[in-house]
Symmetry: C2
Subunit: 341 residues, 2 copies
């Protein structure tokens, strides 16, 4: 823990970097509709998962869906917006196109005060979208047409912004094509060369499953702080026991914040396990964005010098807000939801 | 009243037309964001009104807005969706482009079971959008970039569908360009030639103000059933007294349903004035779509043989649902909100 805090000794005073956090991820607009459970069966959807889909499947699913609402999404983008909503200084790198959805995405980032580093140049592929079906139990099942977002490469990195951000936050979902993998390693290198902290979220257990060895290598070599949930951690180490997975993690990465749904989170450090309870929610409406906003609160806490337990609590506050309504981003200013924490 | 009901004697049995209602209007996607009152002042917006804006102003307003949600809208389109939500058979004619927002609009119509007659052919102008700012008092202030929607002309009418619909419902908002005015008169002619009922909504008092003489001529010549609210009716006849405006209306149009906000509505017939109270709402969140959905309920009642008081009540039920949440269309099946009414 002293090491982790030590890395942030430069996040105040005259040498304070320009951004608290810079996120890199798939820039997506969410297309959200409510469905019944039968819809999942009819279309062979695995509840709670994220599945990558191609154009044809996207068209099929969308056509079958009831009226939808379009809201900007994307995991690391949601996290960046949450940080801004707390009052933090967030930046984001992700690829959109010059179409309507690209405009919507860019607008919604700027509107909440996130500095959006949109890689220049046009690309024939449309802006990505995530078709999210929300079942009556508030679970979200995501079907992602990545579009142009997945073509992020080293050339799209704004290295100056990465160098000038206290934390680099990378989204596992993007860790799919070789170009993106290379970009992640380069981004981490730039961050480390400038004494910044490198964090990664595992994003999804299927995603971990597809790229387990690459993820583990990245975690071992480059990641200072790992985010993930219970299932993703088990998947990373192919273990059935949470305790065993935490042990395995400790051999490879010093710090982690692992969410366990309604049971809150466990913060892993070299010396201790800190359990932080979830913040209660009257009525869970849509779990989309829960993990993303947990990371917002945690990183906002970390970059403002809070202790790790408080970081976990801030994560839970933000997650509680976002699951209490439809949509993956806060509807209120998170800065108004915290006292002097 | 016997005349009005008489027109619907053909809305049952083997000669029942294919659609209960066909709407014609500006096909728009709503871009909805919350603002404070100061935002209205800063941008010289008149609360509760609908203002037509050009590209430059649309860009300016959108850039100034907080994160937004995109949902299909358009006044007569919302009405058609409400009718479908009650279980009625609705069709719609309106112009969109082949861009993302056009796809969204088409999807959301089909998803609720509205037959969308999209005029063929591409047009260089984008799909229209309505930038709606919702203030803390739940009032909506609309800024409409019409885009391709306003280019509706006689060529875009699906006359076969109009002939085969019990009611033609036209949206005053569209009654702006000469091509659209001509299209309205032609649509009304086709409806009348086939023994159908022609209805019009006044849409907005500024809209009435811009085109008062044309509106009055249309009402006199072609309209069997007029929809509007209190302010629009006063604007139509340039009178300060509601009673005087109702008298003036009776000289020109036999039937009307005029909403008066929380006071419900007044149904005007040659012989009587029927007052129907509003349905109470716990918390009014966003008044967008209130008038549109009132028309849904009223027309659903009319085309299923209900008495006029019940028609007014069904209108109030639908309006109450739509003002209890963000967005201009019902979030629940309206058919489940009514008993044996």
């Amino acid at each position: 823990m002293p090491d982790l805090i030590g890395r942030f000794s430069n996040n105040a005073g005259p040498d304070r970097p320009r951004f608290d956090v810079i996120g890199i991820g798939n820039a997506l607009v969410d297309v959200i509709a409510s469905t019944d459970e039968a819809f999942l069966d009819s279309y062979n959807l695995v509840k709670g998962s994220m599945t990558l889909i191609e154009t044809e499947r996207a068209v099929e699913l969308y056509a079958a869906l009831d009226s939808a609402v379009e809201m900007s999404g994307g995991s690391a983008a949601n996290t960046a917006c949450g940080i801004a909503s707390f009052g933090g200084r967030a930046a984001y790198i992700g690829k959109v196109n010059g179409d309507d959805l690209g405009d919507v995405f860019g607008h919604d980032m700027r509107a909440v005060g996130v500095t959006f580093h949109r890689p220049p140049g046009e690309h024939g592929t449309p802006t990505g979208r995530c078709v999210i079906v929300v079942t009556p139990d508030a679970e979200r099942t995501m079907n992602t047409y990545l579009g142009v977002s997945s073509f992020l490469s080293v050339d799209d990195l704004d290295e100056e912004a990465i160098a000038d951000s206290a934390v680099l936050y990378m989204e596992g979902y993007l860790y799919d094509r070789d170009d993106a993998k290379t970009a992640f390693r380069r981004a981490a290198q730039v961050a480390h060369e400038n004494g910044r902290l490198v964090s990664l979220t595992l994003s999804d257990s299927f995603c971990v499953d597809r790229h387990r060895s690459d993820f583990r290598a990245l975690v071992q070599d480059r990641v200072d702080l790992l985010f993930g949930n219970h299932d993703e951690l088990l998947s990373l180490y192919q273990l059935d026991s949470f305790d065993a997975a935490v042990s395995a993690l400790r051999d490879e990465c010093d710090f982690a914040a692992i969410t366990i749904g309604a049971d809150g989170c466990v913060i892993v450090t070299p010396d201790e396990l800190i359990r932080v309870p979830a913040v209660a929610v009257d009525s869970v409406i849509d779990t989309t964005g829960a993990g993303d906003l947990f990371a917002s609160g945690f990183l906002f806490g970390l970059t403002t010098g809070k202790d790790l337990e408080t970081c976990g609590h801030l994560g839970s506050v933000a997650a509680a807000e976002v699951i209490s309504h439809v949509g993956p981003r806060p509807l209120v200013e998170l800065r108004n939801m915290i006292g002097d924490a």
